[in-house]
């Protein structure tokens, strides 16, 4: 029983990072119908920025803030400068470009910081069952999700962003600057992605550190329903729990397969994800 609880808590903690990454993907998908394959690249830049800032200042928390700030700015920049001109031609082109961006950024990070692993510690100890860093992961993602919900639900900016995402023309006819809302959405999504990066990257970071994590993040988003933020969180936690149980009871070598199994099972029952469109419309 004790072991079960440990596995559950560990699963939730790693699931929190997947949930955050899934949330980042869903925010962009909702607004632009575009799967942002550059998400791990944006997280990578954020985490390396945090690494450098932490080295310079000696403070993890200044580095943490730098990661979030970098995420916000880089996300907004990518939407405005890279994605928007191409999305005008075709949606598929834009998706391919995000994929290309991922490769370019990974290469660029390797050139600047080197391809070898750097050790980048957490603020909290990650040793032992349900370590403080696990608590931090769960709490920070929980707070981020709540803030995001409050932003979308209760603020004028959130209302504008939702209007722009659901019905761009009606939004423009209501005086909403739709382009600016898309930029804001990418910035916010990428900020959440940076948080996911800070949780999933350390203790060792390298240009490819998020490859596997991103696979789980996108899996979580698909499982939850690509256009539902609540689904993303549930999907992330589900993937985290499933992998934790399987690696604990069966063997760690099967953990990755678990994610695949969850996708297959969920999508065969609910093809659009756990929280598919009809529920999503209420948000």
């Amino acid at each position: 029983m004790n072991y079960f609880i440990t596995l559950t808590l560990n699963g939730l903690a790693s699931g929190a990072a997947y949930a955050a990454l899934a949330l980042a993907l869903v925010i962009i998908y909702q607004a632009t119908r575009l799967v942002n394959f550059a998400q791990p690249a944006l997280a990578l830049l954020s985490v390396y920025a945090a690494y450098t800032v932490t080295q310079l200042t000696g403070s993890y928390w200044i580095g943490f803030a730098a990661a979030l700030g970098t995420g916000l700015l880089v996300g907004a920049f990518v939407e405005r400068v890279v994605v928007r001109p191409i999305a005008r031609t075709s949606q598929l082109n834009a998706i391919i470009v995000t994929l290309g961006l991922l490769l370019v950024v990974q290469g660029g990070v390797g050139m600047i910081w080197g391809n070898e692993q750097h050790s980048f510690g957490y603020a909290f100890s990650y040793v032992g069952r349900f370590a403080p860093s696990d608590v931090f992961a769960l709490v920070s993602v929980g707070i981020a999700a709540l803030l995001l919900f409050a932003l979308y639900r209760f603020t004028p900016l959130g209302l504008r962003m939702r209007a722009a995402a659901f019905h761009p023309e009606a939004a423009r006819l209501s005086g909403v600057k739709v382009g600016m809302m898309l930029t804001a959405g990418w910035g916010i999504a990428s900020l959440i992605g940076a948080l996911a990066g800070m949780l999933a990257g350390p203790p060792f970071i390298s240009p490819n550190v998020f490859d596997v994590v991103f696979v789980f993040g996108i899996t979580a988003a698909v499982v939850g329903g690509l256009d539902n933020p609540f689904g993303a969180v549930i999907g992330g936690l589900l993937i985290g729990l499933g992998m934790s149980y399987v690696s604990g009871y069966v063997g760690p070598e099967l953990a990755t397969l678990t994610a695949l199994a969850i996708v297959v099972i969920v999508l065969s029952v609910r093809p659009d994800g756990i929280l598919s469109r009809p529920t999503a419309r209420k948000v």
Partner: protein
């Protein structure tokens, strides 16, 4: 809604919305060909014509949803031809697109609030209350998703959202589309009532020419992107030649 006598003498003023030689096209197809028309302050005007005559394109070009290739649009003297849509709205031109453009994922109240978000006095609830007063069915459904509304209620919500911006001119694209005749009549008389009470200027694009002419005081008939006829609505209604040639009744 009051039963204002139809075709009462309009107390219209100076030109509020002026369109001069406006042209627009879709690729090689010319949708608007040098359209010129003036809408007076407190005017209630109908824009009529067959399918493809350019009515919708005219409205979309006025609010910048479609680019004009040449010509000028002036609102209260200001040239708004090249302004982006979201700026045009803030100058006082509201546009209810075909089908209403209600955002079904948002609640009724969110749709309404959206219409006034750009205003500096958006926190002031009086506009919201006034608009709600105009449409009693919306009040009890205010926290429901707009997707649950009936066709007539959606049209009311669409008009309500446009009014939230406190516009000078309200452009409506076929508000009667898909609505029962009784509801259409209610919406038409509401527009007339609004004009009479608040001095709102209304431009009504309609396929339902007979209905639109009976409620408006001035009409423009578009044909193949040009103004083919114009005049007082009762005059157009009485003119058999125009009716047969362009309005199909």
């Amino acid at each position: 809604m009051s039963d204002a006598p139809l075709n009462s003498t309009p107390q219209t003023g100076e030109t509020l919305l002026s369109v001069e030689g406006l042209s627009a096209s879709y690729g090689a197809v010319r949708a608007l060909d040098e359209v010129s028309l003036n809408v007076p302050e407190r005017g209630l005007c109908a824009v009529l014509g067959a399918n493809g005559a350019g009515k919708t394109t005219l409205l979309r070009t006025l609010t910048g949803l479609h680019r004009a290739t040449s010509g000028k649009v002036r609102l209260a003297g200001e040239d708004i031809t090249r302004l982006p849509t979201e700026k045009v709205i803030t100058r006082g031109l509201a546009h209810v697109p075909e089908g209403g453009g209600v955002i079904i994922e948002l609640t009724v109240e969110e749709n309404l609030r959206l219409g006034a978000l750009w205003r500096s006095d958006r926190r002031d609830r009086t506009t919201l209350d006034e608009v709600m007063d105009l449409f009693p069915p919306l009040v009890e459904r205010r926290s429901r998703p707009a997707g649950t509304l009936s066709g007539g209620e959606r049209q009311m919500l669409a008009i309500g959202r446009a009014l939230m911006a406190r516009p000078k001119v309200l452009l409506l694209d076929e508000p009667s589309l898909g609505l029962a005749p009784l509801i259409t009549k209610q919406i038409f008389s509401l527009l007339r009532d609004l004009r009479d009470r608040t001095g709102l200027t209304v431009v009504l694009v309609e396929q339902n020419a007979a209905g639109a002419l009976s409620v408006t005081d001035h009409g423009f008939v578009l044909n193949q992107g040009r103004v083919a006829a114009e005049g007082p609505s009762d005059g157009l209604l009485a003119d058999d030649r125009t009716r047969h040639a362009y309005l199909g009744f």
